[in-house]
């Protein structure tokens, strides 16, 4: 007999871990939507934020002070990126910009290494990973906390985009850069702002991922996890990033548990890519992505 309780448990576990993927993917989407740049450095930023935070805490800084300091550093990093990398390369083809962020990701990683060294740090943000039981289904406390944090972050963004002038500028630039220039919007300023926001997302993502996996250099590889999320959800939709993240989380876990045994296990790492590839064949722009219609 099929164990629905177990299915539910796997599904919930998958969805909750998917939230963590969404968090990384949102950083991508923000920058992609507003500047058309696929920011490969998002993972490095995440690592940098986590490493900075954990190193400050290890050096005796109180939790909140370290958080604030890291926030300031991420803001500076965001502004510097716009000034030193994006602005000189404005109007270059997307591949050039992508390569620039690839380079940037190694520079950031290198800087992190130079500043804080290469050892693995444990990060305890005070949330236990002990599961608790709801109606017979085991749920990880940490996953739930991560999901709550990610959820509030997304809600904050939604409010910000809806109700502030800067948010409106973001939406405007994302909608049509030419029109944005036409109304005299200062694109560099919007880009700087969006890199700052991406930095903040990286900080939150870094803390959660760091607490889960330990703060180490492989943390920057979570960008690779974000790619199938983006393919599924579409590169230019925040909703897509959220749903895509949840989907990837669920697919991974379900595939591992139910399909894995057929292949001798260990398919969790690549099941999401297969799903993304399959979707690409049906809907190239993702579930929520904008269809590109070129008039000829």
């Amino acid at each position: 007999m099929f164990d629905y309780q177990f299915l539910l448990e796997v599904l919930i576990g998958g969805l909750l871990s998917g939230v963590m993927y969404s968090l990384v993917a949102i950083g991508f989407v923000l920058i992609y939507k507003t500047s058309g740049v696929l920011n490969f450095a998002q993972g490095a930023m995440l690592l940098f934020a986590a490493l900075t935070f954990v190193s400050l805490v290890e050096r005796g800084a109180p939790f909140l002070a370290a958080l604030a300091a890291t926030l300031v550093i991420m803001v500076v990093l965001g502004i510097a990126t716009e000034r030193l990398v994006l602005r000189p390369l404005v109007n270059q083809p997307p591949v050039t910009l992508f390569m620039a962020t690839l380079g940037l990701s190694y520079v950031i990683e290198g800087a992190a290494q130079l500043l804080w060294g290469t050892q693995v740090h444990g990060l305890d943000i005070g949330i236990s990973d002990a599961p608790f039981e709801v109606a017979g289904v085991l749920i990880s406390r940490f996953d739930l906390f991560a999901a709550a944090v990610a959820g509030s972050l997304v809600a904050l963004f939604a409010l910000f985009f809806r109700y502030t002038r800067t948010g409106l500028s973001f939406r405007a630039v994302a909608d049509d850069q030419f029109a944005a220039l036409a109304v005299g919007l200062r694109l560099p300023r919007v880009w700087a702002a969006v890199w700052i926001v991406a930095g903040i997302v990286a900080l939150v993502g870094g803390l959660l991922w760091g607490a889960r996996l330990g703060v180490q250099f492989s943390l920057s590889l979570v960008v690779l996890k974000a790619l199938p999320v983006l393919v599924l959800g579409g590169f230019d939709s925040i909703t897509g990033a959220i749903v895509g993240g949840l989907l990837v989380g669920a697919i991974e876990k379900l595939a591992e548990v139910y399909v894995g045994p057929l292949f001798g296990g260990g398919i969790e790492a690549w099941a999401a890519y297969v799903a993304a590839l399959a979707l690409l064949l049906i809907r190239p722009s993702g579930l929520f992505g904008q269809k590109l219609v070129e008039r000829v």
Binding site: L168, A172, D176, A179, A180, A182, V183, G184, L185
Partner: protein, 307 residues
Amino acid sequence: MTAIATGARVFRLEDSPPHRCADASGGQREEALEGRAEHAAKTPVRPALGLAHISLTFGGVAALREVDLDVAEGEIRAVIGPNGAGKSSLLNIVSGLYRPDRGEVWFGERSFREVPTSKLAGLGVARTFQNLALFKGLSVFDNVLMGLAHRVRAGFLQQIVGSPLARRIEAENRAAAEEVIGFLHLTEVRDRLAGTLPYGVQKGVELARALVTRPKLLLLDEPFAGVTLAEKRELSQHVRNARDSFGTTIVLIEHDIGVVMGLSDRVAVLDYGRKIADGTPAQVRTDPAVIDAYLGVAHETDTEFEI
């Protein structure tokens, strides 16, 4: 003043008609209020927009040759001409997208060899685009509000916290946007996404976005291209109302002479990059050079009037 009857609120500019005359030369009010009074007495008032000896070439092709154009304060000025006559080049020079090989552009008392695009809004210049530059995924209201984007003065933090300054500016901007939306009869579509509206209405939205800044000078790039006859009538009425109510000086580039003749105070005609005629619609219509070059001797292009 009859324009107020459109149902829109009375506009502030209209409450003080002397403002228009006093500020006739545009810009720089603080810099030279006193000096200018003398200056104005000696020399004739500078046009709101002046082009002097503008030449522009693309490779070996002369797009514009020695073109002069003056636009008086509060005037509706049309520049017409067949395809490739250099109309768009002219507008792009005025908005700083092209740099002329020779000649200069005057905004009131300031002259530019190359117009600084980023300062245009500050100079009181707004424009619309032939193929629209709207935010299709934003509401009509947000689109109009974005017309004031260059005016954001309150810092980011102030916006988040909602400081009194930020709130006041925000309220003012919103009121200005509402006003213009009412003025152009867009209230019904206020919350619709711009991209979902008929083309003619989108043109109206773009006009509203340009007008929300209360520009001194408004550049319209083929405002009537691709809209229906009914929409043309409405749009041209809006353009006239804008001039009458805000005192905006309007330069419009147009292909469709029919609308232009009825709407404009003066018309300049371009052909192969040269200005071949300039005057009132009646003068231009009967000018032999215009008839030859543009209207066609054998009436082949009569359809231009119908479209």
